[in-house]
Symmetry: C2
Amino acid sequence: MRAEIITIGDELLIGQVVDTNSAFMAQILNKNGIEIYQVTSVHDDGEHILRAVAEALSRVDIVITTGGLGPTKDDITKHVLCDFFGATLIPSVQVEQHVRKLYADRPDVLNRLTETQWLVPDKCTVLANRVGSAPLMAFEKDGKLLFSLPGVPYEMEIAMREQVMPFIAAKRPTNETIIHRTIQVAGIPESALAIHIEDWENALPPAIHLAYLPKDGIIRLRLSGYFDKNDTSAQLAIDEQIKQLEKLVDEWLVVTEDKPFEVVVGELLKAKHATIATAESCTGGKLASLLNKHAGSSDFYKGSVVAYSNEVKEKVLNVSKTNLELFGAVSEQVVSQMAEGVRKLMNTDYALATSGVAGPGGGTPQKPVGTVWIAIATPQKIFTELLHLKGEREQITDRACTKVLTKLIKYLQD
Amino acid sequence: MRAEIITIGDELLIGQVVDTNSAFMAQILNKNGIEIYQVTSVHDDGEHILRAVAEALSRVDIVITTGGLGPTKDDITKHVLCDFFGATLIPSVQVEQHVRKLYADRPDVLNRLTETQWLVPDKCTVLANRVGSAPLMAFEKDGKLLFSLPGVPYEMEIAMREQVMPFIAAKRPTNETIIHRTIQVAGIPESALAIHIEDWENALPPAIHLAYLPKDGIIRLRLSGYFDKNDTSAQLAIDEQIKQLEKLVDEWLVVTEDKPFEVVVGELLKAKHATIATAESCTGGKLASLLNKHAGSSDFYKGSVVAYSNEVKEKVLNVSKTNLELFGAVSEQVVSQMAEGVRKLMNTDYALATSGVAGPGGGTPQKPVGTVWIAIATPQKIFTELLHLKGEREQITDRACTKVLTKLIKYLQD
């Protein structure tokens, strides 16, 4: 079964907002055997929305739109869908009761514009929006489904999980299943990797497709297949292929799943009942923020010091003044002392440290922008590595984080 | 003049990668007077790419595609464009020399797959890709332009800035200009705000369009207009309208530009020659990472302590054990001591602190998930505020950061 996503909003087309909704929707639809054929972003413009909806419905079975459901004048999706389906707006008691309850303690929100939120097209099924005032609408026409969801990511996510997916499962059960298997490798260029696995790739069954996703020094290799739910042998075939691939790339293999590296680090630390802290200069708290991004991080993560100034490196992390003066902040000596300093300060098993020149300023002929020292302090030993990273400030920071997490994963796996 | 963007890659349609390229491209095109009519994401599939390219070229003057230019088998854009434009791949000496130079120190990259990178369609202009091996291609047909760029964001960004924009300016100079003006308000619901400014909105000239963008408690109000470059009076009209709007919403106005709040904080601190540090529990380094995200942050930002465990709060930030035991980590007493503790430790003028329950675990009836204390320590006084935030772990963290930055901006503006 195929679906399309239409994201509605001028903000997407002038670059004021990045569309993160489509990726979330695609993931959850894929997990339920529904392929996304196309994503289209259109203006808050009646004709444009109408054309996109008509075209998408002509191509696929399910269309999901996001955006344009707010109470203000620039939000027109509900009216456009009335035109498309020949529907009329009528008051919904269900939505009114919900909205009144939602804002019971907010009389400033219960005004005449908010009241328009409980007007809904008479030709749709209204699904409950647990966390917002915009109605979730499901239309059916010629055997096809169209859902209209709010553009606010948090509301859309809950709507997809709690309302849209069960509605589709009930109305359009499918025997199809989509399987993606991803492994992540590092330390080999994409082209060299492709040559290395060429014979295996050429012998893949036609139903299994390989994709390469290089980013920040990591290459994600993904096998995808679209199968019938009952055809278990086809599903076993993809598992068999991924095992063969893992053996072929063993030398460069970091992770055998499509998980963020910080999640893998967390799992490895939890399994060892070990704790971690970070001391960061150029990565400026990004490592900290990655390590505690996911639920349950307090099991292994204790804290961090972002030591942007040398004063903080000395005073809080106990880096020696002599090292700072002799070797500079971006040096093996200083990054080692940062890692060991924070490990002792926070009383953890492991510690990560970074010190480098993220740019755009601060580079010298000896230490140009992109020069980054990383360190991992363990109970036994401190490991260091000098990186020469390419890119601009943000890429350098991201790549330094990826590098230090990769190094730690490799160490913890041994 | 209008353009469309086509992003190519299965990874976009299975939700493995978020499309950040379109927003970057839309911004830079808008700045140069070019409107984006539509963004379309399509599969690595020849027929799909061909249809999308043909449809986009039928609607607009300029089409830009990203992705599908790597050296591996799943990358097919170059071949599809040869089909579309009736072109043949021929070796390019210019690209070959560039690629050989780029990988002079990487013999493992200079293999037979990388060699295919210097095969280019004979009917395109090859533009220089300073940082990668994929050729940037510009096609012209029936007075329209099509550019094919790599999907790697860093390569695409440099290509847009250094090659595509100058090429368009030379080939298709335009007299059009697009002006967006955004102000940011907080502390009023979107619907109440819309009612408050209704008369003004209804009286806007037809050439000026208003949009509301609510997120994390902030509402961005954007005025947009498409003008002729020589029609300066129309451009003045938008400035005049934004001034009127600022007066109308003065009570809730936070920032009069479309800048991230951390950038505004940085500017205000620099103007005062003041420095800042952060002490974070539930925001886990996100505040730190925001404050030093942009170039020049070492002028005002000195460092942070992420104190996830109580042990670190006590030992590093000097929070009293009594307060932790009596009031708990999520309390006014503790967040105040965290702010003052890091201000003294890092010897700064200001400090921000957060302590809360980001969830999903850790909530109690007294302090449910979303309970967050924030503090701002100044040389004179410590300001605190109790927040009851809605959402999941990531929203709560983001909203807490936005709240504390908003509070600091308001304080520094006074």
